[in-house]
């Protein structure tokens, strides 16, 4: 028995190694690029021979990048907070209350989640220009909320459904008012779900490119992904590879840390809405 288990373990370690390579090779490549200095940038090596932090110095001295980083962080956090607040309310209602039009709302959320964003670019562009939201934070925050809401509602209502109904009854029997039951029993139990959903929503906002590209025109509200594409656009012939790579690493690191720390919760969140629903 012993050698066979060892062999199977070895086999699985081999398989795991392939998965690790798959996941990390493109990521480490961009890290490597960001660490190459000008002399070795074009050597095509996967591993930098003489690492330097020139690219990082460059982008952190670039006001446009710093502004874009601020925009990304600010816009995504605000959009996440609002989407979670509205999403929690809606998800609780959908999971626990009976009211007319519930199915319509669920269907609508599904429709929005399947929506081709490109179809909204023009009308949003026109509307936002007309009411002065174009190239502002709210101009991006509002569409982000709208597209985060379906995700938030699905994930959160799956979490709410898992909280046993009996606990609310028990709280009532223990003498709690409906508000006390919500505040002291339901909310603490929903917190992990809300937190997980917040991570997912944040990642989806952080990832957006199309709206950031088409609903902004200056560094006023442009987020990092859009700003990065302008790094290239401006210098077609001499691509600022190093700075782009450095910027890419800067916006990737926080997300990867999130994922490493909250792996379990993210898996639970991503799968809860889709499969059980």
């Amino acid at each position: 028995m012993q050698p066979e288990t060892t062999n199977r373990k070895l086999m699985w370690w081999g398989v795991n190694a392939i998965v690790l390579l798959y996941a990390f090779v493109p990521v480490l490549w961009i890290v490597s690029l960001s660490l190459k200095d000008d002399a070795t940038l074009n050597d095509g090596n996967y591993i930098p021979t003489s690492p330097s932090n020139d690219s990082y110095t460059a982008i952190f001295n670039n006001p446009d990048f710093l502004r874009a980083l601020m925009n990304s962080i600010g816009i995504c956090i605000i959009a996440t907070l609002i989407a979670i607040a509205f999403g929690t309310m809606a998800a609780y209602a959908i999971a626990r209350l009976d009211f007319p039009g519930k199915r319509t709302i669920v269907a609508m959320a599904l429709l929005v989640s399947m929506f081709p964003q490109i179809a909204l670019v023009t009308p949003l562009f026109k509307i936002e220009t007309a009411i002065g939201l174009f190239d502002t934070w709210p101009g991006l925050i509002i569409p982000y909320i709208a597209f985060a809401l379906p995700l938030a509602i699905y994930t959160l209502s799956a979490f709410f459904r898992e909280i046993p109904w009996d606990l609310e009854k028990a709280a009532k029997m223990d003498g709690a008012t409906p508000y006390q039951a919500f505040r002291r029993v339901i909310t603490p139990l929903a917190m992990p779900g809300i937190f997980t959903t917040a991570i997912l929503v944040f990642i989806s906002c952080w990832n957006d490119f199309l709206f950031a590209l088409s609903l902004t025109s200056t560094s006023n509200a442009r987020t990092v992904p859009a700003a990065m594409s302008y790094f290239t656009g401006a210098t077609t012939f001499e691509k600022p590879t190093g700075p782009i790579a450095a910027a890419a690493v800067v916006i990737t690191i926080p997300i990867v840390i999130f994922v490493l720390v909250f792996q379990r919760r993210i898996v639970a969140g991503l799968t809860s809405g889709a499969v059980k629903g």
């Binding site: 046993p164 009996d166 606990l167 009854k169 028990a170 709280a171 009532k172 029997m173 223990d174 003498g175 709690a176 008012t177 006390q180 029993v185 603490p188 139990l189």
Partner: protein
């Protein structure tokens, strides 16, 4: 502590479905009442109405002399133990038990004292700082009990509190619940589908079927004098054997042959001497091997034994007699509840015999049954024709 009165209580859902119909019961202070019946009989709905978790459609619910129909659960001062225990997973055992007291605005020192007292009674003292997730099933059950006890409420409501425990622990907790209830003397309404719990725990038992109370009485009374076929079949384990029978002036004819009826049954039957079809019920424990009986009055017959189960203290013998099965609405409901849809050709009989009985699988045995204990039911209405309840 209080007395609870249910006066013509009705629960009807807005779609017109009747869940509980005309429920009348006066529960004395300190009494332990069991609501028992198959699933969907309305027992949990009744409990929820008393708790205030469901509306009462009609009738009055009186606790301690006050009509509380329209009071919220929190204003009724009654505690409930749930089947799922409903422990708050984010709170420690101590916080779970203290939660109702904290909601009531009691000061911390008093809460601590009360929680510690209850924990001691339930042997939970060393677990007070743990979370429910780290407890065994039995411990969780005790925490749920503790949360009810600390408040010293007017009444305990228990919704199948033991059904999530394994068989051995269930028996243990059953006696503990009984002891606690007797010590505290708190009025208790206890819902179960397990007739053993009903028989062992209750001062009085209420048997329900499809929203209608079938019979109310002490366990012994229900056992000896079931009001109808349904109660007769539901109470007792293994359950009563039923035979289609024909009543004659001089006795009754069943698949077991002809038997003379003792005088008290004969009198109870109103002297209606006309021949009629009935259903005869005989409990397994009222059979015996003929040679062990001596000359006690009764009837004997030959049973072709299929299976013998020696339990140590006694012997279960299973056999099938030729003839039709007893048919009635009550018995169909019972079969539906147990999920028994096996129909063999003939009447299946279970007999519980003395350990010394000489019965063997595949052999024919001479069995005796006690004719003074048999029950006679009307097939159509299911009513017991003997009992004058």
């Amino acid at each position: 502590m209080a007395e609870i009165v249910l006066d013509h209580v009705v629960k009807r859902y807005p779609d017109g479905a009747l869940a509980v119909d005309d429920f009348n019961l006066e529960i004395a202070d300190g009494e332990f009442i069991i609501l028992v019946g198959p699933s969907g009989c309305g027992k949990s709905t009744t409990l929820n109405m008393v708790a205030g978790l469901e509306d009462i459609t009609a009738g009055k619910l009186i606790i301690d002399g006050q009509v509380v129909n329209d009071k919220a659960p929190k204003d009724r001062d009654i505690a409930m133990v749930f089947q799922s225990y409903a422990l708050y997973p984010h709170m420690t055992v101590g916080d779970n038990m203290g939660f109702p007291l904290r909601l009531a605005g009691m000061d911390k020192a008093t809460i601590r004292k009360k929680v510690e007292q209850a924990a001691e009674m339930l042997e939970l003292t060393q677990h007070l700082d743990r979370k429910p997730a780290n407890l065994s099933g039995g411990q969780r059950q005790r925490v749920a009990m503790g949360r009810a006890i600390v408040r010293s409420p007017k009444a305990f409501l228990m919704d199948e509190p033991l059904s999530n425990l394994d068989a051995k622990l269930r028996v243990q907790m059953r006696t503990q619940i009984s002891r606690i209830q007797k010590n505290l003397g708190t009025t208790t309404l206890y819902v179960t589908h397990d007739q053993t719990e009903a028989m062992t725990l209750g001062d009085r038992v209420v048997v329900m079927r499809s929203g209608v109370v079938q019979q109310v009485g002490s366990p012994a009374h229900l056992y000896a004098h079931p009001a109808n076929l349904f109660v007769a079949g539901f109470i007792g384990s293994p359950s009563m054997n039923f035979f289609p029978g024909r009543l004659r002036p001089d006795g009754v004819v069943t698949a077991l042959g002809e038997a003379k009826l003792p005088d008290q049954i004969r009198q109870a039957l109103d002297g209606s001497t006309a021949e009629r079809e009935v259903i005869v019920g005989i409990r397994p424990e009222h059979f015996e091997e003929a040679s062990l009986v001596g000359d006690k009055p009764g009837a004997t017959f030959d049973a072709p034994i299929d299976i013998v189960e020696a339990m140590g203290s006694d012997v279960y013998a299973y056999f099938t007699m030729k003839g039709d099965q007893a048919r009635s609405k009550d018995l169909e409901d019972l079969a539906k509840d147990t999920g028994n849809d096996l129909h063999s050709g003939g009447v299946e009989v279970t007999a519980r015999l003395d350990a010394a009985a000489n019965v063997q699988r595949g052999r024919t045995a001479r069995l005796w049954y006690d004719t003074s204990k048999i029950q006679v039911f009307d097939g159509a209405s299911g009513k017991n024709l003997v009992t004058t309840d």
